[in-house]
């Protein structure tokens, strides 16, 4: 990983906001899909694909690439937007999301479009698949890393904890779980639906290294990944505390936006706000 300069940092924030715009546009055209999760993970996806990962958008199946698995497949609009922005496929193709004959399926599907490593979406199965990939890399004595993107809600699935237990047992240090701790799920707040706390202690009890970060502070997130790479005896879980719907005020922290797409008027308001967000990018 190269050094994170001020200039690079600004570039990563700018890309995150461009990703947010693309998410809103693709969801508007799709007419359905999830809004809050993808927006909340934009900063992290920008950090991954434009700074952290070893990958090659022009050669998606490059053998030496790191693997990204989207366990919470329903937030795929953020991955599609990021992949397109990185050059894996044309940006205009984002407008085909969820439509008939599109390469952009409603949930990620292996080899449907360059950059998607495996099929996922039914919650709780991404970490196990990531473990399989990490085991294969270890068997082949390869240094590539596996990043498993997870939701907090999917920690209510038994399959998730089977995987957490296995990764702890096998000390899979080439595996990093990045958990979107945004506190919402379809039916409401996670702690009302089925409490997950103490989240950190649960992972620690299963033998993982755990790092809490602000999921919107790119510098902090990048350093957490560097720490994960430096820990050799354990897998690492990065608990990324994010704001669902981040960047669009009327969506932020509102679980009703978990599984909903914006209409035309809402999308216009959202994009206007994203384009003038903070002072990190120039106004439209």
């Amino acid at each position: 990983m190269e050094r994170l300069t001020e200039k690079k940092l600004a570039h990563l924030y700018a890309n995150a906001n461009r990703i947010r715009e693309l998410i809103i546009e693709s969801l508007l055209h799709a007419g359905s899909g999830h809004s809050a999760g993808p927006l909340g993970m934009a900063d992290i996806f920008s950090s991954l694909y434009f700074h952290i990962l070893n990958h090659n958008p022009k050669n998606a199946l490059w053998d030496e690439r790191d693997r990204v698995v989207l366990s919470n497949g329903h937030i795929c609009p953020v991955q599609y937007a990021t992949l397109a922005l990185a050059g894996y496929f044309p940006i205009k193709e984002l407008l085909t999301l969820r439509k008939i004959d599109s390469r952009l399926q409603g949930h990620p599907h292996r080899n449907s479009v360059p950059g998607i490593e495996t099929t996922s979406g039914p919650l709780g199965s991404g970490l196990s698949q990531s473990i399989g990939m990490a085991l294969a890399l270890s068997l082949d004595k390869k240094k590539n890393r596996v990043y498993c993107m997870m939701s907090d809600g999917e920690h209510q699935e038994g399959n998730t904890w089977e995987a957490v237990m296995f990764a702890g047992k096998t000390k899979l240090s080439n595996l990093t779980a990045i958990i979107d701790r945004n506190n919402i799920q379809i039916d409401g707040f996670t702690e009302d639906t089925m409490p997950l706390e103490p989240f950190r202690k649960k992972y620690e009890a299963f033998g993982w290294n755990v790092i809490d970060v602000d999921g919107h502070n790119i510098e902090e997130f990048v350093y957490s990944v560097l720490e994960a790479q430096a820990v050799y005896e354990k897998p690492t879980a990065i608990l990324a505390h994010t704001i669902p719907g981040k960047g669009v005020t009327f969506m932020e922290r509102n679980y009703l936006w978990h599984g909903k797409a914006p209409n035309k008027e809402e999308a216009e308001r959202a994009i206007k706000e994203i384009r003038s967000l903070g002072n990190k990018i120039s106004h439209e």
Partner: protein, 330 residues
């Protein structure tokens, strides 16, 4: 009349045929595969010995993974390994894998279209005294409805060995159904085995019925055919070792020849071999069909032979089904 081209075990119709469990053939094949192909890996869910993966685990410890009692994790880790080009075999009891982890198989193996091979052990009534909780009678139905899934039900230990070895060459997921207890050895290493190609094991001069059987019911179908022959009643016995993709051509050919058929399986009638044969015939050449199988009930504790008799899966039940179906020909 036994089909000479099939090179069957000549001791089959003797007083003491060789007996062996199909799971032994699976275990032997796994060790052979381990030697032949470094991409082959094996995983189990706390059932190393009884699912016959122990020998592989000793010879290839770095390619063996114990996941504990966690069948969902078992198959999904295997899917991740397969995405990376490994050829995983996963073992557990069929009630749990593919029973408990069906959705993970559907999404991460079949829809993902990767070569994960699922060994469903302790299938059927052959599981005996463990009782209904451990006697999978629905697994063929669960697996054959999935796109990108090949389904094998070997008739004996030798065929289980060949089917296991063939699984590494298929595209997508594979399922092999295996039994706990010993059953008669029917085939030899010279018996042909081509995935998706049914084997005609018995063909009388003027057959009046075709019996399609799979797994442990193949030997029973042969014993029924032999008794029927002595009674002057000709038949054909076909081993459908591959339920999916099914050999439609052979099924249609023999339905045309005998004008009626019987199916025999150690599985629920709903969704199993009989259903698969009926799907082929209803669309191509409808003929009367009788189903020998489990009639929408659960199993129970008991010795396998007692259970087969009680649940209507004996040699006499096949013969009765034959007698019933021939009178239905219009």
């Amino acid at each position: 009349m036994i089909n000479e081209t099939q090179k069957l075990d000549i001791k089959l119709f003797s007083q003491n045929p060789d007996m062996a469990p199909t799971r032994d053939g699976f275990g032997d094949a796994l060790v052979e595969l381990g030697k032949e192909n470094v991409r082959v890996v094996a995983l189990t869910a706390d059932l190393k010995e009884s699912t016959r993966v122990e020998a592989f685990s000793k010879q290839f410890p770095e390619r063996f993974f114990e996941v504990g009692v966690a069948e969902q994790n078992l198959v999904t880790i295997a899917a991740g390994l397969a995405v990376m080009g490994k050829i995983p075999f996963i073992t557990s009891y069929a009630t749990f894998s593919p029973g408990r982890n069906w959705e993970q198989i559907r999404t991460t193996v079949c829809y993902n279209n990767v070569n994960v091979n699922i060994a469903g052990h302790h299938a059927g009534l052959m599981t005996g005294p463990d009782g209904a909780t451990h006697q999978a009678l629905e697994d063929i139905a669960l697996m054959r409805t999935l796109p990108n899934m090949t389904v094998f039900v070997p008739c004996d230990k030798e065929e289980a060995r060949k089917a296991t070895k063939a699984m590494t060459h298929i595209v997508g997921g594979g399922y092999i159904r295996l039994s706990r207890d010993a059953s008669p050895v029917i085939t030899t290493d010279e018996t042909p085995f081509v995935p998706g190609k049914a084997n005609v094991l018995w063909e009388s001069k003027r057959p009046k019925v075709t019996i399609f059987a799979c797994g442990t019911m193949v030997s029973r179908a042969l014993f029924a055919a032999e008794e029927l022959e002595k009674e002057g009643f000709g038949s054909v016995v076909i081993n459908i070792h591959t339920i999916k993709p099914i050999d439609s051509k052979t099924i249609i050919t023999y339905a045309k020849k005998t004008k009626c058929v019987v199916t025999a399986e150690e599985h629920q009638i709903a969704g199993g071999l009989g259903s698969a044969v009926a799907e082929v015939l209803a669309q191509n050449f409808p003929v009367p069909q009788e189903f020998v199988g489990i009639k929408d009930v659960f199993g129970e504790s008991g010795k396998p032979n007692e259970l087969f008799e009680k649940h209507g899966l004996g040699v006499k039940d096949i013969k009765e089904a034959v007698k019933e179906v021939v009178v239905r020909i219009k």
